[in-house]
Symmetry: C3
Subunit: 395 residues, 3 copies
């Protein structure tokens, strides 16, 4: 299908993405999710055909990473650059924010000439999403009061509840892999906890996966050792989504059972919700000893589940002995990054390239979130770009 047709098809979608932040996939309609996926695919195809989708002549995109990141940082920078924006990092250690500035003030101070703010805030349960809402309210107020010439859009680059740029990139890669969203209907996807020698990994990836994949009629299987539960609200959302979409949602406590006949397996470590809550309290109190004790206890608990490794034996149980392996990367790979990890060396190597391809969609998903936030008639704007077809490499 050529670019013109791809854009034409968008016109059937009813969306209200214009000037709305992209914080949680479950706040978006099915059509809105489809729009973001399609716009991402179109932006990628355009770039592959050397068509520049620069829509801003100048402007800033602010990145606010309250936790470490390589790939999301680069994805955000790539997305901003693709659209013509310049990234400016809000580094809270460098800035005066540490000295008691309120969120409200800072949100305005960084936004006078900004079009977007990308935020990662995934360390504290109950805090990340709240922080993004707070920033959003401050921007609403600043815009309403005439402080800001435009209301900058917020893109959630990972919070305590969701990781929409990851899950949407994953979904786009599934769509491309299986041919269409329709083809995903009835496919079995397993989101499984997996062993890792580290502890305290965020819940946002598994939560993002079960809440999003349940929107499109897939059979979602969540597996984890007893006690490693996710935030109950997100599990409820996934369960409900499955009902609405005609798929299914099931929780089990054995990786081996879960992967049987699976089309897709996503094995990834996380810390139990109750541990993350404790950890949040200890971090907020600055209780270093408490954190150390918690880490020790958790690592000891984790160590009971070293058999939660995704390996060739388990691959053999999957559909055609060849379920698609997914991961947000970096994975803890047995005998490569650690002695015992989430996935065996052989299995990772077999599916390594698909995981890279999967990651490659993220910059375009972020760009699509920005694009649909900023252009009320996104298909129309894409048509104009296609008509002009400005070159990215100019010569």
């Amino acid at each position: 299908m050529d670019l013109k047709q791809q854009i034409e098809r968008l016109k059937e979608l009813k969306t209200q993405l214009y000037q709305k932040d992209f914080l949680l996939t479950w706040e978006k309609s099915e059509d809105e999710l489809k729009m973001v996926l399609e716009v991402a695919a179109i932006l990628k195809n355009m770039r592959d055909e050397n068509i520049s989708s620069k829509v801003f002549d100048s402007g800033l995109a602010i990145s606010n990473f309250r936790d470490n990141s390589t790939r999301t940082r680069f994805s955000f920078a790539s997305a901003a650059n693709l659209l013509g924006l310049h990234v400016q990092d809000l580094d809270e250690k460098k800035s005066q924010i540490a000295h008691g500035e309120t969120v409200r003030e800072t949100a305005n101070m960084i936004s006078f000439l900004s079009d977007f703010i990308g935020i990662r805030d995934d360390m504290y349960i109950g805090e990340g999403h709240k922080y993004m809402l707070e920033v959003g309210e401050a921007l609403d107020d600043g815009y309403k009061q005439g402080v800001l010439p435009v209301r900058p859009g917020i893109v959630n680059l990972q919070c305590d509840q969701d990781h929409p740029t990851q899950s949407m990139a994953d979904l786009l890669s599934l769509k491309e892999h299986f041919g269409s969203l329709e083809a995903l209907r009835g496919k079995k996807i397993v989101m499984s906890w997996a062993y890792s020698p580290s502890y305290g990994k965020p819940l946002s990836v598994p939560q993002g996966i079960i809440t999003l994949m349940s929107r499109f009629g897939m059979n979602v299987e969540l597996a984890y050792p007893e006690g490693y539960e996710l935030i109950p609200e997100m599990v409820d959302i996934a369960r409900n989504n499955a009902k609405v979409s005609g798929g299914s949602f099931h929780i089990g406590h054995s990786m081996t059972e879960a992967v049987k006949d699976a089309d897709i397996v996503y094995p990834k470590s996380w810390a139990p919700f109750h541990v993350m809550q404790q950890r949040t309290q200890l971090l907020q109190k600055g209780d270093a000893n408490g954190l150390e004790d918690l880490e020790k206890a958790c690592l000891a608990e984790n160590a009971k589940f070293k058999d939660w490794e995704y390996n060739e034996e388990k691959v053999q149980l999957t559909k055609n002995q060849d379920a698609l392996y997914m991961h947000c990367l970096p994975a803890d790979i047995t005998d490569i990054s650690c002695d015992a990890g989430e996935v065996s060396k052989d299995v990772f190597e077999k599916y390594r390239i698909p995981t890279y391809v999967e990651a490659g969609f993220k910059p375009y998903i972020i760009a699509a979130m920005m694009f649909t936030n900023r252009f009320e008639n996104a298909p129309g704007t894409l048509s104009e770009i296609l008509k002009n077809s400005p070159k990215r490499v100019l010569y």
Copy 2:
């Protein structure tokens, strides 16, 4: 007034801003200050009307922050981006500058493809302005000797003597608030010391305010507890400016007295000049114990003046019980950022939005300083931009 008229009016001003650094407002003529204010307002209006004022296709703007900053950092990045330049940070901790490079050499090494250097150096009394002059001389020499293709302009982003991007943004916001520069004539502006639980805040903001506001026929009242004096040279400049401009300049030692019938009140903490001198010597010697002792003594001294808080009681004394409150932000707000601070929570909240608007002029002031430094006939160049009216958001 439309953009065309705004630009037309500039042609009456006689200025020599071309290829001159912007270091201290008192080195600039009244016409020059007006030109920078007007160009800033025009650039802002252009952007609000989606006209791109990108005047560079490529080029670097170097930021050299020798002290922390959020808002000025973002303002500088915004200004550079608005004109088409890319910011490159000179992070002296990352670089080899710590290992004995001379200022002269570094100034040239970073400037081969640079158009501007923004410098903040406000920690050491007697050093900041001197450093900027040294960089300027190095650039003059490099340009003269053929090392540099252009002489990069320097913008003072705060030194020990002045903070011109702040004071000019403040002045622009007063001009917009009261309608014109002419309307400021005879208005009473109070630059008052205020209590803060921290110590060692720079003198450049109060010095910048009294030296600039005294240029335009305002009645400038400087108030501080006995002993909290500013650098005498800057006070002399303010006093003389007031004479020349037909305004007045007065020093008092009571915030309550000072704010009576004030049109504008700017309450802000600073450390006394003699303390800053001591602190500079201790910092230069690396005397950590001495610094700790000094801090303790100063905080104890400050604590005697907790009643130097700007609050509703004092607002009631001002003109129409509604003087405009100003601050460079972030303010130390009682019951928000501290137990007792520069301003009460209620008063701050009442004037919060005007302080945000005030801050929003800074990016355009910086851009105007760059613009007038680089384009000999600034009004002519603005006319050309307006004629072309290239879009900022392209679609």
Copy 3:
């Protein structure tokens, strides 16, 4: 000679720079080196005539500095900006790379929308060049497998073996100084060890100089105190190059002897190869005490050679008492940056401006390496740019 003629002359050169990394000068043919030099000179002349050589409308250039840098960092940023790319730093301390990611994965993760990666990795003997090859293989694989839309080019910004952006900038400055590459034939260039109060300076500059300058018929004299040898392979390459090019290569152990009748003198400190090997092992083991002991021993050894200072007495021995002094900067200057250093204050001051000019070529050399990597018919592309002559400063 005008730009048109300069470009015309390039058409005689037979090169295969297209889509090849620039890692080591000795992997490139004479025509290829000439092409890079000429393209650099043309890009510089274009910018001096306000012609923008922006060839990318968007795209990233990744900088990966595994060691400190000011001038090369700015040179890389300048080169990227000149061509229309935006620099994104891969800061390994900020990122998750420290947590066991493989090079292979990271190389792909940062490259989805990247056109170039500049790498500095000069700390470990036997590692820097190897790392760059590894990154290159990962990118080859990612491109072949469809993960990456283009194969980003790698520019070596200094490794354990070579420092090609430095040595090529040095060569371009010699070409401009003496009028042509042909004019360098038969000139005597002395690469001499010099005393410095620090230790552990990389070998890549002297190795880069002797291997490159020996390509063009120069008489290369390498001088160092007994024991301060370079990596033997690079010395062999220099010796062989001299044979092939009709120049000469000689090693001596006296600066005084070496500089006699020299046309060019490049006095610079380095640590002996065997020390760098030991240091690499200690760094890899994280042996802090061992490193301290090694440093002490080396400094004591160095101190025996304080007379290896390039000063007026030695200048008097050179051709016409006026050999061109070169340095990659910053130099250890006696009585300026240290008590006893590589060069006397007077001699440095006399040749200071030429060393600045020398450094000014580096951004253009990097841009030329990128340009020839990306445009198969570099002269043709330059002709097109010249025909369009887009302005850099637009008004």
